[in-house]
């Protein structure tokens, strides 16, 4: 609406306009929250200091993969990094990554008192948890699956017959997808659940990292204590994320040392149960309590 017209231009009165466009549903809100959470966790549209740690972790995962592909290009017979070694090596990095992003996603909302704002909008409480799981899972997939797929693609392209090599190694791609997805959602769910209990990010980060480290020590200690009962001792892997992931990766990529005689179904089952427990705890925690 033009208020006045002059020689050098026009002055516009930006009067208030009511919104007459579409109002999308729950799925849109879930995706919007997941996208916003991922952007904030990566430091996008935030000061540069918020970007440092995620970028360093991405670099730490990507650089060995790129080096491996580079070495393969010049020395085809030399395998610097196989899939089992890659997934075995990234546990620590992915663990630190989820310890950084999950508190940013969950604890920050609690700290900044945003929950009443979210829940006074169409998104439900369970949808809020789903959005956060989606955000944490997708972001962690970019750490666990994407570099492994790059490695797979690089190995295939550098073979004598790239198309045939890629076609023949489709099984590996499937294993990469299973391993990467399970790792992402397993660690993501644990980290989100821990973060949902506190509004202090530093506490959440500390508890997640300590939890990953101590659970392995505890698992090994109990296993040692149960040395006389090997059948029982074998199951102590279930309380350690690192041992559970190692067992799954060992079976998937045929590495007996990593698998430690733990069946694939057992490790996958433990991960699925832990993911389910974390979800149930979060749904219950965010359920309206008054």
């Amino acid at each position: 609406m033009s208020a006045s017209t002059g020689q050098y231009g026009e002055i516009f009165d930006r009067g208030y306009l009511h919104y007459g466009g579409p109002r999308l549903g729950q799925t849109h809100a879930v995706w919007a929250l997941a996208r916003y959470s991922m952007a904030r966790a990566l430091g996008i549209r935030r000061p540069w200091t918020a970007k440092i740690i995620p970028m360093l972790l991405y670099a730490a995962v990507a650089i060995p993969v790129l080096i491996a592909v580079g070495i393969r290009a010049f020395f085809p017979a030399f395998e610097f990094l196989d899939y089992a070694a890659f997934f075995g090596a990234i546990f620590l990095l992915v663990g630190i990554f989820v310890a950084m992003i999950a508190p940013e996603m969950m604890s920050s909302d609690r700290h900044d008192r945003l929950l009443p704002l979210y829940f006074s909008r169409p998104i439900g409480r369970s949808s809020y948890v789903v959005a956060k799981l989606l955000a944490a899972g997708l972001l962690t997939l970019s750490m666990s699956v994407v570099p492994a797929v790059v490695l797979w693609f690089g190995n295939g392209l550098l073979a004598d017959e790239p198309v045939a090599a890629l076609r023949d190694s489709l099984d590996d791609l499937g294993r990469i997808a299973v391993a990467g997805t399970m790792i992402a959602f397993y660690l993501g769910a644990i980290a989100l659940m821990i973060s949902s209990f506190t509004g202090r990010k530093s506490i959440a980060v500390g508890v997640i990292i300590l939890g990953f480290v101590l659970s392995e020590s505890l698992s090994l200690a109990i296993s040692e204590a149960l040395r006389d009962q090997p059948d029982l001792a074998r199951w102590t892997f279930a309380i350690s994320p690192s041992r559970t992931i190692a067992a799954m990766v060992g079976q998937l990529f045929d590495e007996p040392d990593l698998a430690a005689d733990i069946p694939l179904n057992a490790s996958l089952g433990v991960m699925a149960v832990v993911i389910a427990i974390c979800c149930v705890v979060m749904f219950a925690w965010y359920r309206r309590r008054d």
């Binding site: 579409p22 999308l24 935030r46 008054d290």
Partner: protein, 327 residues
């Protein structure tokens, strides 16, 4: 006040009960609030925030029903929350986000597509006076600017009704004045219904047409704030010059006048109305004594009168003690 007959009331509750353990926060609250700028007034702990939370679906009642804009707050909660906005009392903002990003995100959370959300965020931030600052991080904002961001996120999706919980909290006098002007504008110019929860009488009196007074979880008053013509109200009069002859003449016809009180001018008097002839008697007395009649109006009850009558003043004078905070 909007008075379209076919439109539902803004808020309706019936025997609404809310308990926190042994504490009865809302005690069978019955309300039928018209489409207006509504002030929700009461001392701290009166149940204002609890009522807002139930109306928004943030909290469950222990009994009774609540309807907002004609929709049940529980059954149609999700649909309802697309049509209402909420500005909480607490400082609910992410420090490390820009105002534009946060408000745009909240628009998307209300169902607006991404592009429309960004456009609406820019427009609304302009209307609340944060056009220049919208790309700055919220953590650098003053209290008044943060309150404006909270207000912007509450109206970014163009709601029909907006709940404002203590919107002038923490603001200096100038900031408070600007916030009240904004709220008034939201209702009068943008046509958004406002429910303003406050314990400050002036805030409610400034922007609201209708007031609901809560005390101890009960509704103690629910009525329009400004009654334009009250035929039974006492009359305020003022005449130029010496009022004694005028007052004596009134006394002769049985009308007693008393000083209006310290909040009015010293030559203003209140006359108790006695039937339809009172106005004629005042006119005749003024004519007979040659006293120029400068003021003749019904005595309206101020919000303070209503509040004190409804909530009362405790023995220690802690409640209803003036025009500032109600507690």
């Amino acid at each position: 006040m909007h008075a379209e007959p076919n439109q539902p009331l803004s808020i309706e509750t019936s025997a609404l009960v809310k308990r926190y353990g042994d504490v009865l926060a809302l005690d069978h609250v019955d309300l039928a609030v018209p489409r207006a700028a509504v002030g929700l007034l009461g001392p701290n702990g009166a149940g204002k925030s609890t009522l807002l939370k139930i109306l928004l679906g943030l909290s469950r009642s222990n009994g009774g029903t609540a309807r907002v804009l004609g929709r049940d707050a529980v059954v149609h909660g999700r649909e309802l929350r697309m049509r209402v906005g909420y500005m909480p009392e607490t400082d609910a903002l992410p420090d490390n986000a820009t105002a534009a990003d946060f408000v745009s995100h909240m628009a998307e959370m209300s169902g607006l597509p991404r592009r429309a959300a960004r456009q609406r965020a820019a427009d609304v931030l302009y209307h609340v006076g944060l056009d220049e600052e919208r790309y700055r991080l919220v953590k650098g904002f003053s209290t008044g600017m943060k309150q404006r961001v909270k207000l912007a996120q509450a109206i970014v999706h163009d709601p029909e009704l907006v709940f404002l919980d203590e919107p002038t909290n923490g603001l200096d006098p100038l900031g408070r004045e600007e916030m009240l002007e904004l709220i008034d504008r939201i209702h009068r110019q943008l046509g958004i219904l406002v429910v303003l929860s406050s314990h400050i009488l002036d805030d409610v009196e400034r922007v609201c047409d209708y007031v609901v007074v809560l005390d101890g979880g009960r509704v103690v008053a629910s009525q329009p704030l400004h009654v334009p013509d009250d035929d039974s109200a006492d009359l305020h009069v003022r005449v130029d010059g010496n009022p004694d002859p005028f007052l004596d003449t009134l006394r002769e016809v049985g009308l007693e006048a008393r000083p209006a009180g310290i909040e009015y001018s010293s030559d203003e008097f209140v006359i108790a109305r006695r039937g339809d002839q009172t106005l004629d008697a005042i006119r005749d007395a003024a004519a007979a004594t040659g006293s120029p009649l400068r003021l003749l109006r019904p005595a309206t009850r101020s919000l303070e009168d209503l509040y004190v009558d409804s909530v009362g003043v405790g023995a220690n004078g802690a409640r209803g003690n003036g025009r500032g905070a109600a507690t």
